[in-house]
């Protein structure tokens, strides 16, 4: 690590600038290669569209894409919000009440490893097609990591800090808000970095098989109707939404839990 740091400095560029360039450069190179391959080999656009045509295509189809993006984002955001809210509240209860802990934790730990995306068909069967299913999938996807990590985070309080609060005769609420909650934030954000992208991915899957709105549905519909350009566009926009969600949460993390050592 040292080595590369000194090496970059010797080359004259700032190390941050250089690594930033490399990060962007990798993706840019991929797009360039993609463009060259598709253009020179004359790959049919339904197999692999040229990147240079995606921009104009997106512009042309923007109303359709936005009509799909809006429900996708609303459904993922609803599920994300519900999942986090339930997760946090239940974690607080588990932290506070031993009886809740012994009844809820074993079930939660046994159930949490079920991949929610995989049981989307089951949820569809129970709740039917539409909003209820998509939001439920996003909620469940968000809930388990939020809950488990908050339980860990709320419990991961430094024991001496807890004793300090006790000697100051602080009440449960004070301990919670001034000590447990901040201590749990790094854990919560590690969950968010998983759940924010996953909620969108889950909602997409649910839309694909159990809805008639949203980008997921649009991808499915476009592919069955041989509208390959639209299918590609919807796929790329969904991917972009996932990446943006991750980036936003990561940025929030660096802003809000700067104090935490890297875990």
């Amino acid at each position: 690590m040292n080595l590369s740091a000194t090496a970059t400095i010797r080359h004259g560029l700032g190390p941050r600038l250089q690594s930033g360039l490399l990060k962007v450069g990798g993706l840019a190179a991929l797009v360039v290669v993609w463009q060259i391959v598709t253009a020179t080999l004359g790959v049919p656009s339904y197999i692999l569209p040229e990147p240079s045509q995606l921009g104009p295509g997106l512009l042309q189809d923007r109303n359709q894409i936005l009509d799909g993006l809006r429900p996708l984002l609303v459904q993922s955001a609803l599920g994300f919000a519900f999942g986090n809210a339930f997760g946090i509240v239940l974690a607080a209860l588990v932290n506070r009440f031993a009886t809740v802990r012994v009844t809820v934790m074993p079930v939660a730990l046994a159930v949490r490893s079920i991949p929610i995306v995989a049981i989307t068909p089951l949820i569809t069967l129970i709740l039917g097609f539409g909003l209820k299913t998509t939001v439920t999938v996003a909620t469940l996807i968000t809930f388990f990591p939020a809950f488990i990590n908050m339980v860990r985070g709320l419990a991961a309080v430094d024991r001496e800090a807890l004793q300090l609060f006790r000697t100051l005769d602080a009440g449960e609420l004070t301990v919670f808000w001034k000590l447990r909650w901040p201590s749990a934030m790094p854990y919560f954000f590690s969950a968010l970095k998983v759940t924010a992208p996953a909620a969108i991915l889950g909602a997409t899957v649910a839309e694909y098989i159990a809805s008639n709105s949203g980008l997921g549905y649009m991808i499915q519909n476009a592919s069955t109707n041989f509208q390959y350009r639209l299918m590609w566009e919807a796929t790329i926009v969904t991917t972009a939404a996932v990446i943006v969600a991750f980036a936003v949460v990561s940025w929030l993390e660096t802003m809000l839990v700067r104090w935490a050592p890297e875990r």
């Binding site: 490399l22 990798g26 079920i114 995989a118 997409t204 694909y208 990446i243």
Partner: protein, 255 residues
């Protein structure tokens, strides 16, 4: 000695699951057919037993795809991780591409994969690769890097070669991380293969699941879910066992 608490944990979890099952059975019996979408556990078991041959046939497809996808994912991920630790610029350039690949909703590219690869095993294998390679890549890279600074200095003073450092220190250090990644990756590969079968397929557990859903056959859907959950669990347990047999000994003792 260290097995006791984990045994108690497991016992508690099994008890919890059994409790949920019993409650479920009672509730379903009381509902008496008004909640058709949620059959009682006994009905699911009956369906399982009655259609066993069907499931075995489905399993063969799904497991083959999952295994192939998992192996390919391991080769790609471990290879890439070695490139990453060898060259920082390569890592900076390639890591974001891996993140982007991982961010593609894999259900969305199933149609694209079908266009590319046809209707056979290949698109499902490809989804299994996509579903499992990222956690393996991340954990392997982290493991290969988990060598502490003083050990690195020791090896430099001994003028050890890159290859020696890799084989004698980095690789053994990474093994527990690798097995953890496999425990995540193997079930993910099963999941990926199943989802790959949801679309444009006539075989496998995924196909069975979606057709049961569209035909509103709750018993069959739940039973197939149980089979695929068991398949994913088998993938996990395989590497869990391997972990206990190999690195478990010194990892457990060192912690």
């Amino acid at each position: 000695m260290t097995h006791l608490p984990s045994f108690r944990h497991w016992a508690r979890r099994v008890a919890a699951v059994l409790g949920v099952l019993v409650a479920w059975q009672v509730a379903a019996q009381l509902a008496d057919g008004r909640a058709r979408a949620v059959p009682p556990p006994t009905a699911i078991l009956q369906t399982l037993a009655a259609n066993w041959d069907l499931f075995v046939g489905d399993l063969q497809y799904t497991l083959l795809e999952a295994a192939a996808g998992f192996l390919i994912a391991v080769v790609i991920a471990v290879g890439l991780a070695l490139v990453f630790i060898r060259s920082r610029p390569a890592e900076l350039g390639l890591y974001n591409i891996a993140v982007a690949m991982h961010s593609i909703p894999f259900i969305a590219i199933v149609p694209i994969l079908v266009i590319w690869l046809g209707n056979g095993y290949s698109p499902k294998i490809a989804v299994a690769v996509l579903a499992s390679f990222f956690p393996i890549l991340v954990n392997t890279t982290r493991g290969l890097r988990a060598v502490d600074e003083q050990t690195t200095h020791l090896l430099r003073v001994l003028d050890a070669s890159w290859w020696q450092v890799l084989t004698k220190v980095r690789w053994p250090t990474a093994l527990p991380y690798l097995l953890t990644a496999f425990k995540v990756g193997a079930p993910s590969a099963v999941l990926g293969a199943t989802i790959g079968e949801w679309i444009g397929s006539q075989t496998g557990l995924g196909y069975r699941i979606l057709s049961a859903m569209f035909n509103f056959d709750p018993d069959l859907l739940w039973a197939t879910m149980v089979v695929s959950a068991l398949a994913a669990l088998a993938g996990f347990l395989l590497f869990d066992l391997l972990e206990r047999l190999t690195v478990g000994r010194w990892v457990a003792e060192a912690r």
